[in-house]
Amino acid sequence: MKTGNEQRDAFAAPAGRREWLAGGWALFWENPIGKIGLILMACFALMAAASFVPPLLDPMYHPMHGVDPEISHATGPSAAHWLGTDFIGRDIFSQLLAGARIAFMVGLSAAFMSIFFGTLIGMISGYAGRFADTVLMRLADMVMVMPTLLVVLILSSLFGQLRIWTIVLLIALFRWPGVSRIIRSQTLTLKHRPFIEAARVAGASHLRIIFRHILPNVLPLAMLYMTFRVTSAIIIEAALAFLGFGDPGTVSWGMMLQWVWKTGHMFQAPYWLLPPGICISLLTLSFYMLGRAMEEVLDPRLRKEGESD
């Protein structure tokens, strides 16, 4: 049974990577959790893609402005509105689809950005060591201790209604410490590897070493943590919208829940309350399952560091 280090070296050399990927995919697909996660995510991706269709069919189905001429209050599912209408007659199903698009967009971009920051800072502090390392890691500790939702809440209420992209940036700014810590320890182990020493002897500049040698080895690990970051990004955006501090210009699932809650339909309109909640939970579940399955493929040793949301 390959020990951790051998597995890591396996994908260091290019030839090994293709073989490793094939082997990895087999192991991933065999794992029931990975399979369920992938199928769920595919469904939501389909929903997000389909969200462009309803407004084209009939302006009535526009998630934000599309108002049904006849209906002016919350009605149950009907032929015209598969999931019924919200309190001013907008179609809930098209809102759900639009919400899927927003969730994917927020989740993936926030996760990508936090991974980008995390990997960058992790590599620099791991590689540079000494002063830079202590400063960056103390900064990481400080950010890690901050409750992200409450901080984003304070910022969003102070600087007026935040647009969706500012929310994504804020979430990313507070989710990078977890990743940077893992990437740093990874870089530390890689730093002393022979092929890094060889590159340094061959006169490669620090930047080249970091981006040419360390980054490819650290990337699979970063991708793994991206899945966990996607879940926390989606949850935080939804919670923000639920508290009323989301971007009013976009229709997100959290925003739908906030409307249900605030306009007094919580206990009368299950068709309006249940779908958004179920979608948020299932989407986060799918990414979470994906992450755990990828974890087993990537490197069982990693589980010791544990992943925190």
């Binding site: 002016s72 919350a74 508290l243 007094g264 339909h265 206990f267 009368q268």
Partner: protein, 570 residues
Amino acid sequence: MTLCTKINRALLLIAVSVLWLCPPGWAETRQPLRIGLGEEPRTLNIWMASDANSNNILSQIYQPLYRHAPGETEMVPWLAAGPPEMAADGVTYQVRLRPARWSDGSAFTAADVAFTCRLIKEFKIPRHYSRWKFVDQIEAVDDRTVRFILKEPMAIFLTRSLTIPIVSEKEWREVAASARKQKKPLASLFNHTVKRPLGTGPFVLEKWHKGAYLHMKKNDLFFGQGLRIGGRLLGPFVEEILFKIYGTSDVAMLALKKGAIDMYWQGIQPGYIENLEQHPEIRIFSSERSALYYLGFNLRKPPFDDPALRRAAAMLVDKSFIIKRVLQGYGSRMDSIIPSGNEFWYNPNLTEYGEDLNREQRIRAAYRILKQAGYRWTQPPVDDSGKVQPAEGLRLPGGSLMESVTILTPPADYDPHRAISGLLIQQWLRQAGIPASSRPMAFGALLQQVKARHDFDAFILGYGRLSLDPDYLRIFFHSEFDRERGWNMSGYHNPEFDRIAEASEKTMDLEARRLRIYKMQEIIARDVPYLPIYLPREIEAVRTDRFTGWVQMLEGIGNIWSFCQLSPVN
């Protein structure tokens, strides 16, 4: 880790016992009146209390000299024994007081009234000082009479000044004394924590358990007990009141349906009505409100400095659609700044923009106004054959392309109706080619941008509790109030309007003042600095199985008359 397993089992045991032990319903020994509040009152300090719930509680304790009575335009004497006697010179008033006692038994005297009024003048207490600035002298002639001498005759003295809550000198003398010595006297007066307010009202505060409930008991020394005022026999007939805090209206509605509360003292969303009506023991009140929800324009810079554009916009806004669709029919359209519920001052015959026109007619009317005013389009909203089409490239009379204008609205969680109206108005204005876009903003930031910095094109705001006296019409549009933090937010300057407004403030004769107020409403309706949109009705719900006798007034049933007349059913 056997230690760990022992703790494990202990914890599970406790959890199970708690769940098992809690009997569903507690025995009902007493019958208190249970009222749900939407939010925890902010403070018991009458001077600081600016939120609705604090005033709801304090209005049961501190009482004014005069107050409005349901169904009467004249003010009803309350702590005062009769109407104020005005001397010939028109500036000296004398008020005789009813015999009354404070809730701690000490006597209510003219000295208390004088103390309260002088306190307001000396500390310039916000929200009250503007109504006492023009009062020169206040003296307690004897224990039961107070004399006021004004600088100049003021119509609003009776309706606005004599309705302030009267506090006892005993409660506030030391507080005022120590506040005077501080660097910031007003702040220390505000920050004085009042534990048990001393009042002359029907109820006394027993206990305020922060974050959970307020417990009030009947004030046996209430001066109005057994009296017939404003044609109504006063109690109170209720022994205790429990005010419970409910974070969300949904949970409050549940509490109402399950009988945990008898009345929810907050306007409820139209969405609940259909469900509540299915419960026989719940009664729904829909009352007129003295309120104004409007679209305000910025007259200081183009494009809305041109009245023609404002009138075209007024034509495009489909007020009945908003009332039917957003307020679910629970509201009425507004065409004047003064709400129709204020029958005496409301001018019924104003020009109503776009009344019962359909979408196409509205767009054609707006198109005609803009065309006459010299506006051009690359593609006009109405083609040569009169058919409506999407409009593009609207150009100002000066020839330049109109840039996009933003309509600022409060966020959906603060008030869903205004946020949605903003979106609808944005769509309607775009139909005529006006590049509008609505942007919800945090409430504090919105006011800062509109009121302090005047940096906006248009906004949707509203006033919840407008006083019955129409003086706010002057405050909103008199050019004197167009400055930083002033209430003339749209920057409206009209010398003719200013003249009439100043005169109306001083006309003592009701009919003469009414004519002036009518004229002011006509001018505003013509120039449209503010476009009044809708007047929502105050929807409240009560249970009828335990208490009866709710009195419906302007602004709903949560008023002193209800609390003095409410009585248990059995």
